[in-house]
Symmetry: C2
Subunit: 246 residues, 2 copies
């Protein structure tokens, strides 16, 4: 299991590190900021100890304090339906931010759960506000990250409302692939961070259907799947399945 390490620097464990050394700099909040601005931003970021699998980063209705950047690992966001059922609304990879939903009501409107061992950068919101009052580049970036999240959410809506199970699953795999690619990781060979159950929950399908569709895609040589290790054999076809709409 060759887990890629997103630790920003090789410094002493727990020592302060800077976003300037982080390999996610082209994707994450400091995106296209000046070096000295990045350093000022880095100083307000808190590095937490990594969370084990299935831990809550925060829960719905907790008071909003911070936004978080996933540094390594993967998380899911969940909302609670009025009947008490948990519904997954998204998966977040390294460099993606969670907690942005908390700004409006000053408390989180969803919960965040780790899918594997995950470390995050915590960015206290009052400090973001204070700093961005003096730093237009940060203010602009915060707005951009929120806006980007809205675009992504819309993509997600179109993903989960696709008509067939095959389309939805193909579209999820394509989405993951592209996001790994943007992180300069292997786009056609990666590990699915979530369980089949989670995929089904997110996509509005039963586990059995997820399992069957994955098997079918495998028998057609579109993908190869060994437990969670995915290899995309025919990306073009996968994309066609995902997009080919009635």
């Amino acid at each position: 299991m060759t887990q890629i390490n997103f630790r920003p620097a090789d410094g002493v464990k727990g020592a302060p590190t800077s976003c300037a050394n982080c390999r996610l700099i082209d994707i994450c909040l400091p995106l296209s900021m000046q070096l000295d601005d990045i350093d000022r931003l880095s100083r307000i970021i808190q590095h937490r100890r990594p969370l084990q699998k299935n831990q809550y980063l925060y829960r719905v209705n907790e008071p909003f304090r911070s936004i978080y950047a996933v540094r390594s690992g993967t998380v899911k966001t969940t909302i609670l339906s009025e009947s008490g059922h948990e519904k997954i609304t998204g998966f977040y990879l390294p460099g993606e931010l969670v907690g942005l939903d908390g700004i409006a009501e000053n408390r989180y409107t969803c919960s965040v759960v780790t899918l594997e061992t995950t470390s995050v950068c915590e960015i206290p919101f009052v400090q973001i506000e204070a700093l961005s009052a003096q730093m237009p580049s940060l203010q602009r970036n915060v707005l951009q990250m929120l806006s980007r999240e809205i675009s992504h959410d819309q993509q997600r809506i179109s993903l989960v409302s696709k008509s067939s199970a095959e389309q939805r699953i193909a579209a999820l795999l394509v989405s993951l692939s592209r996001r790994y690619e943007a992180r300069k990781l292997a786009a056609h060979e990666f590990s699915l961070p979530m369980s089949r159950t989670d995929m089904g929950n997110f996509l509005g399908l039963t586990v059995e259907t997820v399992s069957r569709v994955l098997s079918r895609l495998q028998s057609q040589n579109t993908i190869h799947l060994n437990r969670k290790e995915l290899r995309i054999l025919d990306f073009a076809l996968l994309l066609e399945i995902a997009e080919d709409s009635r």
Copy 2:
């Protein structure tokens, strides 16, 4: 057809009006701002002539200039799949903002189409930025509106990924009902602003299924529907159908 008038003031047509007189003030961007701040905000808002049904407010990839508040009428946002198929990602009622997705890339990532005659308030983004640099209340409100949109998008994801057609349709009706209620309009008797086709597109269902489910809900006396005029007869049941999840 008693169309409720959202025109902010009774002034001369085209004369400058203020958000202070608008009945959407508790919902829209100026939410909980001071009166003098509201006046300053009002001055940068441009009132466009109303758009007829099926007109584009803007199209995907157009350069981002403004965000828009729906003043009266209804719009839908659509994104284009790679296969060229249009997918509806949301419906927006008076007091809701569209265009927030444009901030990140400086161009819109979706298109906005009117579902009926609609008027909007245009708010040029450079002016928002300039003004919010001097007006913390506005800066905060802009962030809150973006954050709120993210929460709503997550709700929408959970809505469209529900498992059965009945659940999805019930959930959409509940959502509309609550949003009309928040606008102090009749929550249990309103006109569906979108066609059956649009409902189906948004929910990932065929028109026929939409039609059949609506008929079924009607024959069970959960709703009464005459063309687009909807009366919710048993809201509790409708909510139960929407939320009752496996």
